[in-house]
Amino acid sequence: MEHFLLEKNRLNEFLSALRNYEVFAPVRKVGLTVFELITNPKEAMLDLKNQPQSPKRVIFPQSEILLVFDKNNAAKEPKGRVGQKPQVVFGVRPCDARGFHMLDPVFEREYPDPYYLQKRQSTLLVGFHCSEPYPNCFCTSVGGNPSSPEGLDILLTDLGEQYFLEVITSKGEQVAKEGAAVLSSPTSQQQTEKEKLSGMAPQKIRRTIDTEGIASKIEKHFDHSLWRELSGKCISCGICTYTCPTCHCFDIQDERVRGRANRLRIWDSCMFPEYTLHASGHNPRPTRTERLKNRMYHKFKQNIDLYGVPGCVGCGRCITLCPENVDLVANLKVIKNL
């Protein structure tokens, strides 16, 4: 596919040119950087730090109306995205782009989920190559790469004053066409510089874990007393699941609003006791030990059995953001050495 050069000081012009798209980008909000719909390119925060929230929410929102009920008890789908503009998510990290690849089979395999799939199909991902990975990044241990275009439609590499822009898919080509007025051709020197950065990035990943054999260890040692130790610090706050680009569990709840009612789906967390609590009071995962074990089982055993890959992209958010320093990589190493 084609390569272009985008001057950094013309990025706002490039974003403005995407008139046929709704553009989501990281914005600063109550002290956090989150992916939101932007109306003015100046809102975008593109001095990218790895955002505490992945862009998962653009396609799988934290809260989403599934059905609306009228007074006659008829259930209807809310007006979907039909007829609306396609979406561009700008500033996606390669790990988060892979995160969508992990979510896709969940939502499209046996019972295609129209809410997810419709947004997924009309959304483009424009990503940034991670030339400076973060301390807890471990994407290279779970099949990722900080300079990988996997799952992206366009990949940008920061060359200092310019972005090296690679078109990855035909959807991406369309975006490049819309912004063509501000794009130029890279020199061969810039091409070499980009390749050099791509080659260096994986070596900058500081945390590694050889996941080979972990699935069978988790299964074999499911009843091991060590799980209690691994979960000792966990306070069941759920931050690991809320910030995870591959976590997909949700709750379905009805709400009444002025004589009408909606059925919503809302992110849920396997860290919460209520997640598995029966109405009878029985709970198959009553303590944080079973819950933390289930999360690791899901990511590193169940997901491999179902989809052939770990349900983890190595973004490191669950490690960085855990208030109790529960460390997934360290825990995996303990299991591996059992």
Binding site: L66, A74, A75, V82, P114, D254, Y297
Partner: protein
């Protein structure tokens, strides 16, 4: 919203009859409002459905009327949480949402010609009822049918009219028990797994199908093993907290299996390969 079938969208049905089974269990007979959809509705014994009340929520129940009797779909509901409490407030004629059928079913084809042993506790008779009626409607296909059923007190036994009918049938061996002595109760007293051991049915060419509270299932499986039933002769149907019913929302997994989609029916052979998180 799109051309893809929406698996979350319920069909609307009408509750045509409500039966008070016990002080906290009611059965609801439901007919889909769309006659074409009702006529074409097919399911297998053991499959479940989601009943929903708009503005309240949705919960999973087994379809406990058999596919051999398609005048209505019956669901039995124990009052336990928010949705079930609201369901108990329904009156005949009220509208209800139905998403069904979901999940797998009893492997009845493999049970033909065998002796059948049903072991149920409390509301756990509901899924067994589907298969019992299904088998009684095709009685010649199956060998001896034994039903061991217990509840806390005689008042907590479900489907009392049918229990009486089954007791009177010469081709059903019906054993009823309650947990403790109760005024006027002249049948067995004792927990279901203990009664099972007293009755001691032979495992010879037999399939045992059990459903009840998790603790009953646990001890029933132990009792069956003591009676020399092999794991592949033991079938159970499980309960989990469920939401989506289609294996996406996550919570009902046992190991790599989702109870809503890959279950609720499992053989003990299958369960033994999964983590013990019942």
């Amino acid at each position: 919203m799109s051309s893809i079938h929406n698996p979350y969208l319920p069909e609307i049905g009408t509750v045509i009859k409500i039966i008070d089974e016990t002080p906290n269990i009611k059965s609801f007979q439901v007919v889909l409002n769309n006659p074409e959809k009702m006529k074409n509705f097919t399911f297998e014994p053991g499959q479940v459905g989601q009943l929903s009340l708009f503005g309240v929520g949705e919960s999973t129940f087994v379809i406990n009327s058999p596919p051999t009797r398609m005048d209505y779909l019956q669901f039995s509901v124990m009052k336990a949480g928010e949705v079930t409490s609201a369901l108990h407030e329904l009156a005949e004629g009220d509208q209800i949402g139905v998403r069904a059928p979901l999940g797998n079913w009893f492997p009845y084809a493999q049970m033909k010609g065998k002796q059948i042993l049903f072991i149920g506790g409390g509301i756990g008779l509901a899924p067994l009822r589907t298969l019992i009626l299904f088998m009684l409607d095709q009685r010649a296909d199956y060998g001896d049918i034994t039903i061991i059923y217990g509840a806390r007190t005689p008042n907590d036994l479900c489907y009392k009219d049918e229990l009486k009918e089954w007791e009177e049938r010469s081709d059903v061996n019906m054993i009823l028990t309650v947990d403790n002595e109760f005024p006027g109760w002249d049948k067995r007293v004792g927990l279901v797994p203990n009664v099972l051991k007293e009755v001691a049915p032979s495992p010879e060419n037999t399939v045992a199908i059990t459903c009840g509270p998790p603790i009953m299932i646990k001890f029933t499986l132990q009792a069956l093993s003591e009676l020399k039933f092999k794991d592949d002769q033991i079938i159970t149907t499980l309960e989990k907290r469920m939401k989506c019913g289609i294996g996406i929302c996550g919570r009902c997994n046992i190991g790599t299996m989702y109870v809503c989609k890959d279950g609720p029916v499992f053989s003990l052979t299958q369960l033994n390969e999964l983590p013990a998180e019942l």
